[in-house]
């Protein structure tokens, strides 16, 4: 079925290309005149594994720029990991094979190019952008913090990032129909939240006579740790789990803070009381699907768009309503939503060190920052997937109806993480359901988001210190964290030992190199 859709899309693309060519072929976006320029490309990303030369979007880009990308992807069957572990096996394989294509696009490319770029595997882009890429230059001039964040330790940029648009990612969700049934209000504070979860556990809101409700659940277990924000702790400084954070211009780790200790103590209590899914660490990614459709799950912390979609269950479960709620106020009265879309992803594309046409390549990258190019990267091909109405790209109804829009877009070559482009949130708002939009509105009014740590680039010496110590520190942190929550240890009793152990494992050394890199990169 999916394949059929895809072929139809391709044939439609060809038909459309023929009909729309005369109006668009004025050539103002052409990078080379005469014979098309052929560049090789490697592309891997979490969303759609391989590069396809016949994606309608690629066909259109060829037509507009006269640059033809030829797929030479190595490791096309290796998906770069979407679970934030930083795996770039396909890229490693490509490098080990000895040939670097003209263009390399991948999710999780940042650390890779920042490590191997200075060694000569990738070209520095700063001068190229300055001289040949007016749109990119303008963009970076307006957003200097982005240029700083993507730069390597030698001060050069080695990749053009995928820049997500829109701020909101995850939110707190709750079964509002259960609240009504039990005569409860939407919780405003952490104390309220606890009471509500306890009521879910003890007062049988699903009405089957058994206390089988799972008050708080999560698809990814670190979303349980996220709740330490309710006790003024932190679980991560970015959209990557367990990441460092910036406090008053200095880098610290959330798992070595007092609020975290308090939060873990209380979460252990919640866990013991059954307010948290007893199987939170092993249930895995199907938790949300299973617990909601079995009418068992009460509350979670998850993405707006995908979670709001579960309200379709109302047709099977009488009265089912799963709505976003504002983050409950913490013990000191702060309401924060720790997760947000990061403004820069470590994904995007770079120019291989052996590329013979760097100028044309950077112009090609620049093309996706022109108005037409950005639309192409976001919405697909005009006349085929969307129409311009009052100066806005509006998806065609049949495209909206053809299944999840983001997935359809990946299949025509839009919204690729392996391409450096600036996302347009307008693409998503058109297919977000009312529950998501309502939730986003709520979070927008409350202004709950906080600033994020955008990462640092190490020099070789710093990298060594980090590599040597960080893996063990992280392992130790997670190990203690889980055992405290599961009641295999007591956070209050163990805390001093824990801090001493972190120090022994080299946390202060890691923080030192983090801070020196941070200072260099952001001039603070």
């Amino acid at each position: 079925m999916k394949k059929l859709l895809f072929t139809t899309a391709v044939s439609a693309a060809m038909a459309a290309a023929v009909t729309t060519t005369p109006t668009l072929a004025d050539g103002h976006l052409q990078i080379v005149k005469g014979d098309p320029l052929e560049l090789t490309i490697q592309m891997n990303h979490a969303r759609y594994p391989v590069y396809k030369e016949d994606w309608p979007v690629e066909q259109k880009a060829r037509e507009l720029t006269n640059v033809h990308l030829k797929d030479v992807t190595v490791g096309a069957n290796m998906r770069t990991d979407s679970e934030n572990t930083g795996k770039t096996e396909a890229l490693n394989l490509m490098l080990a094979s000895g040939t670097i294509p003209d263009i390399v696009g991948s999710s999780r490319i940042k650390d890779f190019v920042n490590q191997f770029g200075p060694e000569g595997a990738f070209l520095p882009l700063n001068d190229l952008i300055d001289e040949h890429a007016p749109n990119l230059k303008k963009f970076f001039a307006e957003r200097p913090e982005i240029a700083a964040a993507i730069s390597a330790a030698d001060g050069n940029m080695y990749y053009i990032p995928y820049l997500p648009d829109g701020k909101y990612g995850r939110a707190y969700w709750i079964r509002t129909d259960w609240l009504k049934k039990l005569g409860l209000e939407v919780p405003e504070t952490v104390e309220d939240y606890e009471k509500v979860l306890r009521a879910f556990k003890t007062q049988d809101p699903n009405g089957n006579g058994v206390a089988d409700e799972v008050p708080y659940f999560a698809r990814q277990w670190p979303e349980l740790i996220r709740l330490v924000t309710l006790w003024d702790g932190r679980s991560s400084g970015s959209d990557t789990y367990h990441d460092f954070m910036v406090v008053d211009g200095k880098i610290e780790h959330p798992y070595a803070g007092e609020g975290y200790r308090e939060g873990i103590k209380n979460l252990a209590r919640w866990q013991a009381e059954g307010l948290v899914d007893a199987e939170i660490f092993t249930r895995g990614s199907s938790a949300r699907d299973f617990l909601l459709s079995e009418n068992l799950g009460g509350s979670t912390h998850d993405w707006f768009a995908s979670t709001s979609g579960y309200n379709r269950l109302a047709s099977e479960i009488d009265g089912f309503e799963f709505k976003a709620m504002a983050p409950p106020a913490s013990i000191s009265g702060k309401r924060i939503e720790e997760h947000r879309r990061i403004p820069i992803k470590p994904d995007g594309w770079a120019i291989g060190g052996t590329n013979k046409h760097p100028v044309e390549t950077i112009k090609y990258f620049d093309f996706f920052f022109t108005e037409e190019g950005r639309r192409l990267a976001n919405f697909g091909v005009e006349g085929m997937h969307y129409d311009m109405i009052d100066g806005k790209a509006i998806f065609k109804q049949e495209f909206l109806d053809a299944g999840p829009v983001n997935r359809s877009l990946y299949q025509v070559g839009s919204q690729l993480q392996g391409r450096g482009y600036f996302q347009d949130y307008g693409y998503e708002i058109q297919w977000s359901n009312e529950f998501a939009l309502e939730g986003i509105e709520l979070y927008d009014q409350g202004d709950y988001l906080i600033d994020q740590f955008l990462g640092v680039a190490f020099n070789a010496d710093e990298q060594k210190v980090y590599d040597r110590h960080w893996g063990s520190i992280r392992d130790h942190m997670l190990e203690r964290q889980q055992s405290w929550i599961l009641g295999n240890g007591d956070v209050e009793a163990d805390w001093d030992d824990y801090m001493a152990q972190l120090d022994k494992l080299g946390l202060s050394k890691v923080l030192e190199v983090m801070n020196s890199a941070y200072k260099r990169q952001y001039n603070k």
Binding site: G86, K87, E119, Q481
Partner: protein, 325 residues
């Protein structure tokens, strides 16, 4: 059997010593002309060994280098014993090392006798249909992928729907979240391993039992031996060489606990007992692209395994005159 081949070996050595080079070459030519089929059969294995075991040895040097994939094996700068130092000063590595030994020892203690006992039991089953069915059932888990096995284990030990906790519930015992309790990891892991591999492992021993001369049993029956006595006095001693060879091979693999199953079953909460050298290397070496560090750990692993095989082989040769070489 052993002494016979030894004697032949000795005679060939003494005769070749007397030959001239020319005679030697002629002998070699004749030998190949007569026996080429055997060498042909050997060839694929030799090619495989060269490609996958000997050629990679060149890459072992990255354990002593500051390896960059871009620079390649030859051009990366030397780092001396730095990676080994990092390894041995890391408490988690030391813990992973002892965990590997402990899990392997338990595997050996419970997992090694299991297929032998199973084979002896199959051997005593008289009803052919029952025997075939039972064998098929115990062989089956071997063919299931680790991912599925892990899924089955996670479900079976789940505190809410798992069969184990359901049964415990009938007995009035509170449900236990087994997979997050460090003290339960080893029993579950070793038990799963036995369930998965005991049946398939018994094939070797069944084959050995089939090779025992029936005349031994016949004369034992004449002498009035019971089945139990025949098992202890005939079957077991006859398959002892096979058991010892299997044991030596197994000891060689002591450092190679099936780490994909561990990765699928462990949690940070159970690292304390579950983290083995291979999972440690996977997490801290390969996932973050530190191939040099991972190679150092792998090399250390191999050295330990080699020493263990040497010891096992020597002991076996001294006390039972059965050995791999």
């Amino acid at each position: 059997m052993n002494t016979g081949s030894d004697k032949r070996h000795v005679t060939t050595v003494t005769t070749t010593r007397k030959r001239t080079l020319k005679q030697k070459l002629i002998w070699l030519g004749d030998h190949f002309r007569n026996e080429w089929q055997i060498y042909l059969m050997l060839l694929p294995t030799i090619i495989w060994m060269i490609l996958f075991l000997y050629k990679p040895m060149y890459g072992l040097q990255i354990a002593f280098k500051d390896y960059s994939i871009f620079r390649g094996v030859a051009n990366s700068p030397w780092a001396g014993l730095e990676h080994f130092e990092t390894l041995f000063t890391n408490d988690q590595f030391i813990r992973a090392f002892w965990n590997t030994i402990k899990i392997s020892f338990l595997n050996l203690l419970f997992g090694f006798p299991a297929p032998i006992i199973l084979a002896l039991m199959f051997n005593e089953v008289m009803n052919a249909t029952y025997k075939k069915t039972a064998q098929t059932i115990v062989y089956l888990p071997h063919f299931i992928s680790s991912v599925i096995i892990a899924g089955i284990v996670i479900t079976a030990f789940s505190p809410s729907v798992g069969i184990v906790n359901t049964v415990l519930g009938w007995l009035g015992i509170d449900s236990i979240y087994f997979l997050t309790k460090p003290e339960w990891f080893r029993p579950i892991f070793v038990g799963t391993g036995i369930w998965q591999e005991a049946g398939f492992g018994s094939i070797v021993f069944l084959a050995a039992i089939a090779g025992v001369s029936p005349s031994l049993y016949e004369s034992a029956v004449v002498d009035g031996a019971s089945r139990w006595q025949m098992m202890w006095k005939i079957t077991l001693p006859s398959i002892l060489p096979t058991i010892l060879i299997m044991l030596i091979i197994r000891i060689g693999n002591v450092m190679e606990v099936s780490f994909e199953l561990i990765i699928l079953l462990y949690q940070p909460a159970t690292y304390e007992t579950a983290d083995v050298v291979n999972t440690f290397v996977y997490r801290q070496g390969l996932q973050s692209g530190r191939y040099d560090f991972a190679a150092a750990a792998g090399l250390f692993n191999a050295v330990v395994a080699f020493v263990l095989v040497m010891i096992a082989n020597t002991l076996s040769r001294r006390y039972s005159r059965t050995s791999l070489w």
